[in-house]
Symmetry: C2
Subunit: 223 residues, 2 copies
DNA sequence: CAGCCACATTACCGATTGTTCATTCATCGT
DNA sequence: ACGATGAATGAACAATCGGTAATGTGGCTG
């Protein structure tokens, strides 16, 4: 999962990036509204953490622009405590959730997880798909109840596929969301990892759509 | 850090052990009061998670016995929700903190961290020692503000030493608290890790007391 | 001073993980 | 049916990490 952090407070920005990176996200950062707006407009993110008070361009303005341009990724707004007006304005501008400053980093992480889950249309921290079950909170996966021993990259790949259940996900999309930009785009790493996942899962739950990408089917809509 | 879990509910026991192991603790477990009491009496633990309702021997009885025998390790009691009497009885028996069932695992982890910190005489989640700073919450260490890149074992060793600042810690003690019991007791692994820590820290903050063990000094009480 | 003992240091081993490469296999359009 | 393209596979590789073993070093004791 790839996250954009737009925050001008250097220290806070660093903290957020660090925590997110530790949690296994791929993270881009911006320190002013203009840069943030540009990145959010040009790069594909699974979620954005956006401060309201920003130099160059106000956070709400950035958000409005995105929404006008049809960008639909979930946005977590950082607001000053008890600024009710900010909250209302944020809703109007198309924000999905808020955290009031000052906050605990874990609070942000939890909200973010929930946001990404909701954006993928799941209610709880668990995503189920036939015999496959994935817990986004504990980062554990089971198939038919027995735990899978996945490495961190394997888990992140599986997680992304399950968050986009029934959608065809291209290798390009996977690379963009699971690695930072300077990753060798024409390597077959993704294929290798898909193969390893298939082997570990024992059954082939990952469908290949030739020329398009991969897909995990939600139920047993066996074609 | 070595933790004892005494809980008869198989499922809950498993969950706790798993979460604790994931968090980097060395964990022993018992499923009844008798076994729990024996282990807590014979093995050195940094903390105990103790259920109140146990077969063989009630949790409070176990705790009382330990305290009568002079066992001072912090104990986190698992109680039924709203059983005020349990809480009072627990205080009398020498418990250090409570979590009411049902609980979130993270709640237990947080309380446990706090308990271990407090037992070592620290107030916040950060332990500082001259240029060295260690955050038990994020598992990160810095020296003079710059982050140390420590592996998990290195961090756990440093953490244990800092939790016992100004005390001489023997190699035996370190092995007992950082590894499970079937670890080769006469290996020089500890020396090697101390060496690696010293090199990474750039300065020798870990003192060797010949024939005794190691010590981290709190301030600059240079002898 | 000799020699031992405790610790330090260095190199190395084996397991795990992420990645690349070459080869094989499958699928599709013609 | 055939060839070209895309995907799967297995081997191999480098990096990292935990641990082992052999050797080096320095201080204490007899």
């Amino acid at each position: 999962m790839r996250i954009l952090v737009v925050e001008d407070d250097r220290d806070l920005n660093r903290q957020l990036v660090e925590a997110l990176t530790d949690a296994g996200y791929v993270v881009d950062k911006a320190s002013d509204g203009e840069e943030g707006h540009f990145l959010g407009d040009t790069e594909p993110y699974d979620a954005v953490i956006l401060d309201i008070g920003l130099p160059q361009m106000d956070g709400l303005t950035v958000l409005e622009k995105w929404r006008r341009d049809g960008r639909v990724m979930p946005v977590l707004l950082l607001t000053a405590r008890d600024r009710w007006s900010d909250k209302v304005a944020g809703i109007d501008a198309g924000a999905d959730d808020y955290v009031a400053k000052p906050f605990h980093i874990e609070e942000v992480l939890a909200r973010l997880r929930a946001l990404i889950r909701r954006a993928a249309g799941h209610a709880s921290s668990e995503i189920t798909c036939g015999p496959l079950r994935l817990d986004t909170k504990t980062s554990k996966a089971t198939v038919n109840g027995t735990a899978l021993k996945l490495t961190s990259h394997e888990f992140r790949l599986l997680s992304y596929l399950m968050h986009h259940m029934d959608e065809v996900v291209s290798r390009t999309e996977l690379v963009e969301h699971l690695y930072d930009q300077d990753f060798d785009r024409d390597s077959n790493t993704i294929e290798v990892f898909v193969g390893r996942l298939r082997k570990k899962m024992g059954m082939d739950l990952i469908e290949t759509i030739r020329g398009m990408g991969y897909r995990i089917k939600s139920q047993d809509n066996r074609s």
